[in-house]
Symmetry: C2
């Protein structure tokens, strides 16, 4: 990287999750000049290791002659992260920018700000990182009112009204799918390439899972038994399990998304699966790029800092 492009870097955006960290070098006009990522997520680090992990990732972007702002969201602000950024409590605006925290750093070229997550008292729930994606979506659509779905290991469903997060709910659907398909007795009937999807089996599972009377605990072992008795193929079994779990999630939320505008934020296969599932259940959900709203949200936080500076 040349010194000229270093000089063009105005600030650095970071999304620091449990298992991954991603960083972007941005120009003052918001152009992405560089991207970097690593597997040094929050769960792999002790508090004193975060600065080193950050420098490893973005050291080449720094300039000895000035201090650069690094704006970070995600599990980096958890109690067991770099420095705790205590939750803001809903109902509230998605990003509590006035309560960002500054971890101490040894390297004088860095000024790091961490965005707080959100909490809800009853029913108890928490999120970290998604608040920034929500803020990014609202920065682009200030009048958005409706529901936002953020698929992931722990998917989040968020209700937005008048620029505020009114309520949200977390589903461990993705983690349950991983545990059941890879570690439970069901794994014996689900071997092979996990990226393959049998769309028809997914849809069958989805309809069953979304059924009124369906209870997950009673539906799981049948996937194993059908493998033994009827030779149910591994890709069909895994796809049906995925549909079953997402169907349960959508049915649990029925009153929330029915009749509302729904956005699904995400760039991968998982977001596409949720959109398809909602479509089958009669809801046309709007796809939103996760990277775009993450950057928009981090940009909004940075603008707050600049106004204060």
């Amino acid at each position: 990287m040349t010194e000229i492009s270093q000089a063009a870097i105005s600030w650095i955006a970071v999304d620091w999750g449990t298992s991954q960290v991603r960083a972007w070098a941005l120009s003052d006009s918001g152009e992405v000049l560089q991207r970097a990522s690593s597997a040094r997520g929050m769960s792999t680090l002790t508090p004193d290791q975060f600065e080193g992990a950050l420098l490893e990732l973005i050291g080449g972007w720094l300039d000895d002659r000035r201090v650069i702002d690094v704006i970070a969201c995600g599990m980096v602000g958890a109690r067991q992260g770099w420095r705790e950024a205590p939750y803001a409590e809903v109902p509230c605006a998605p990003q509590a920018v006035e309560r960002m925290v500054r971890p101490e750093v040894a390297d004088g070229r860095l000024r790091v700000s961490i965005i707080p997550g959100l909490c809800q008292r009853a029913p108890a729930d928490v999120l970290r990182g998604e608040e920034t994606q929500i803020a990014g979506l609202l920065a682009e659509h200030p009048d958005y009112s409706g529901v936002i779905c953020l698929p992931g290991t722990h998917s989040k469903w968020v209700e937005i009204r008048e620029g505020q997060v009114i309520a949200f709910q977390t589903f461990m659907t993705g983690e349950l799918f991983a545990l059941l398909s890879q570690q439970s007795v069901l794994r014996h009937g689900m071997q092979g390439d996990a990226r393959l999807l049998d769309q028809q089996a997914f849809d069958t599972g989805l309809q069953a899972g979304a059924g009124k009377a369906q209870r997950l605990v009673g539906a799981l072992f049948g996937l194993r038994a059908e493998g033994l008795l009827e030779g149910l193929a591994p890709v069909a079994a895994r796809s049906r399990l995925s549909g079953l779990l997402i169907g349960q999630e959508l049915a649990a939320l029925d009153e929330r998304w029915r009749g509302q505008r729904v956005c699904v934020i995400g760039d991968g296969e998982s977001a596409e699966r949720y959109r398809h599932a909602l479509d089958i259940l009669g809801v046309a959900a709007l796809p939103v790029s996760a990277e775009r709203v993450t950057l928009a949200g981090l940009t909004a936080a940075r603008e707050h800092i600049q106004r204060g500076a």
Copy 2:
């Protein structure tokens, strides 16, 4: 062991499960003369290792001057076990004694018979080992009509009428509890002695889990969030999870056990927990010793062999 007590051993009963094997030396009158067990369950053995594992366990009980009957039930008869004992299909009597299989053995002192499990086509389901406990219960109570609950890693609920298994259903409740409490994100709030139970938290979880509108996927993450926000104690969180899962299971089965006689077969903490849960939901379930009905079932199978000999 003296030669006199060897001579008193008439036959050997074996319950060979996935992770454990238990054996009993019995007199002709049914008295238990010896007990043995090991961790060499089906999942730890290839087909050619079963005979060695059996001899390791009961070799000391054998007598060079005669052939002794070994009657076995459980996963030893699975496709990946010692020798496959193909399922009998419900509705049928619990033990398909006329279809026991005889694995080949090198040791001339042994004659091994394996009892088939049961299968159900729609909804697809299978069991192995429980058929023998059911047969044992029916040997003691030939007129039993009602529901039998067999708690375990995979709990089984079985409907009995006129000496026949009419239908059954498997729940992965125990395995789900283990995965969620030990391997999911919930484990962070569930550390400590897993044997402790907070009865009140269990009951709260049970009532919530058995609630009409409750969906499991939407209820799990709250346990983690309450730990973070309200300091929910690990033993309370774990107990509530257990109640939640068992509540879901009982609610899924509601039409089956409501208004029926219910037996719970089991010797441990788990059976006690199910009985307590049923009690809270208004059903007085009869406790039945698992060891006693396992032996009664294996005895019934042995009597069939003797009648044929």
